[in-house]
């Protein structure tokens, strides 16, 4: 049995998972307008920290979240030879050192927390977070480690903002995943963490169960989603088959839902092919923006909170169906009996990944 718990989030919505979840229960967003932040001085909507020093921000966030997670687990596992730390990130500490975007932070973690094993950076674009959690589960299932601390962190920088602007992918309003009038992503920044372990007792609060997940490439285009949703379809199909589950077993889908025309359309096609259009679904990008390598961790952490609190959370920014296949998108928060949740992610490089979390 593999357990997942001790979820934590530091985002513009709050500096703990509790604060983040209560903000989301009130359907508050971290997105606001940033004057002249874009290329050529355009104003853009982003979800950014308004109260953090820029100095060493990446490393400080990761240290802060590790300090928070340690008090939620048996702290002895952190420096244990049976523990691996995985860091999910796309651009790391790019603004401090473009030549070596992870080296200094990894060294700080290794020395500050006396880590026994070399941390592994998972850098697979927008699926990094889901993939890192799956990687942790795989390591533990194979008996290579007993515990994994999986951190996700990415920051907004001119680099990523100008880049997505150059692709005409930035939304002119706060992003509206799956909505008919969506027109792009809203960048976000944040940090999340989950702990994966084969031991239930290392968690202070009762953990949830992590079931084995998979990834699949679209084999279609490096920066555009497949029109048939092939990679997402295959990843979810394999994940469900591996766990002997059927579409009726899925109580909720935490989708990727970036808010671009093509991504959300692709997801609707894949979920339709998977016979999952009945399952209540949301995208959390309307709350956090797209936090890239942190997204999979933050969104999994919120999904875990939904499971713990037995509540479905509204997909913020959605009003009217805007995909060719109609999905069961959650329009209002509502209590629900949730047992099995599916988390998916899709991203540049054709990557797709999925995982399942079960309430014991």
């Amino acid at each position: 049995m593999i357990y997942i718990g001790a979820e934590e989030i530091i985002s513009p919505l709050g500096k703990s998972v509790e604060k983040n979840f209560s903000a989301i229960l009130e359907n508050r967003t971290g997105i606001s307008v940033a004057d002249r932040a874009g290329f050529n001085g355009d104003s853009v909507y982003i979800s950014n920290f308004l109260d953090l020093s820029e100095k060493n921000k990446f490393e400080n966030l990761i240290v802060a979240i590790l300090d928070q997670v340690i008090i939620k687990i048996d702290e002895r596992i952190v420096s244990s030879a049976r523990t691996i730390v995985l860091l999910s990130s796309t651009k790391g500490d790019l603004d401090n050192n473009i030549n070596d975007q992870f080296g200094k932070t990894i060294l700080t973690l290794a020395t500050r927390y006396y880590l026994a094993n070399q941390p592994i950076v998972v850098s697979n674009a927008c699926i990094s977070g889901v993939l890192a959690i799956n990687t942790a589960g795989n390591f533990i299932k194979a008996g290579l480690y007993d515990h994994a601390i999986v951190i996700g962190c990415d920051l907004i920088s001119d680099f990523v903002l100008f880049g997505f602007q150059s692709l005409f992918a930035i939304s002119s309003q706060p992003c509206m995943p799956f909505d008919a009038s969506r027109n792009g992503i809203t960048m976000g920044e944040g940090c999340g963490v989950v702990v994966v372990s084969n031991s239930e007792v290392v968690f202070n609060e009762k953990p949830l169960k992590l079931l084995p997940g998979t990834s699949a490439n679209d084999a279609n285009h490096i920066s555009g989603p497949s029109r048939t949703g092939e990679g997402l379809y295959r990843s979810v199909k394999r994940t469900m088959e591996m766990n002997n589950l059927f579409s009726a077993d899925i109580d909720f889908i935490s989708a990727h839902g970036t808010g671009t025309i093509y991504n959300d359309e692709m997801e609707s096609i894949a979920f339709d092919r998977l016979d999952l259009t009945h399952a209540p679904l949301n995208s959390l990008k309307g709350y956090f923006g797209h936090t890239l390598g942190a997204a999979g961790i933050i969104e999994t952490a919120i999904s875990m909170q939904m499971l713990r609190n037995q509540i479905l959370i509204k997909s913020l920014g959605f009003e009217q169906t805007g995909t060719s296949k109609e999905l069961n998108i959650i329009k209002e928060n509502k209590p629900a009996e949730l047992r099995m949740i599916l988390k998916t992610a899709s991203g540049f490089g054709g990557g797709n990944a999925s995982l399942l979390i079960q309430k014991p």
Partner: protein
């Protein structure tokens, strides 16, 4: 049991398949070394010219491994996983993209799409129509134990073969080592840390 059935090294001035040199660098050529290999091996894939060095190197090495191990095409499209890593992420392309908006007037979308290290996995998947598992990791140096343990995990979860790669690309410095691991190996070397360490050579640090 699994086997290393084929491998390819590319450094700044050499290109070897299964230890044998297949191309020599012409230092007087105007073409980059990777482009020289592409031409000398008579590859025809115009998309190569759009790729960054990381993807070009991955393309060349994976195509050379396919030539050395033609039975790869017998696998089903989900059965070949890819497990890649390096120490620089996509820093080489990142620097180029940053220059596009800081020095050359506007952010270049053609450069931006290569500012993620896993794009090379997408390029190889697209070319071969491979829908298998993918993972790209950043590590301070090539770690044979990581590749052995994780490739074996992938093979225990349904992959029949894993194309593994270390793609050290930094400006003119190239330290590329790709190797194919298969469950069934004809005359392959047993896939373990010792053999992988030996094959990788000192060039991959």
């Amino acid at each position: 049991m699994s086997f290393i059935t084929s491998y390819c090294h590319i450094t700044s001035d050499s290109c070897l398949v299964n230890g044998g040199e297949i191309a020599t660098r012409d230092l007087l050529s105007n073409d980059s070394w990777l482009k020289q290999i592409y031409k000398s091996q008579e590859f025809v894939y115009p998309k190569f010219y759009k790729m960054d060095s990381l993807s070009q190197a991955g393309f060349i090495a994976s195509e050379l491994i396919k030539r050395a191990q033609p039975n790869l095409s017998a696998y089903k499209d989900e059965e070949i996983a890819m497990l890649f890593g390096n120490q620089y992420s996509s820093a080489d392309s990142d620097i180029r993209f940053k220059k596009s908006y800081e020095e050359h007037g506007a952010p270049s979308p053609a450069l931006f799409v290569y500012t993620l290290p896993n794009i090379v996995l997408g390029e190889i998947a697209i070319l071969n129509k491979w829908f298998g598992e993918n993972l790209f990791v950043v590590l301070p140096k090539f770690a044979p134990d990581f590749f052995v343990s994780y490739a074996k995990i992938l093979m225990s979860k349904g992959s029949e073969a894993v194309l593994c790669g270390w793609l050290g690309i930094w400006d003119e410095q190239i330290n590329v080592f790709l190797f194919l691991v298969e469950k069934q190996g004809n005359a392959g070397m047993e896939f373990n840390v010792g053999n992988l360490h030996k094959l990788a050579g000192l060039e991959v640090v």
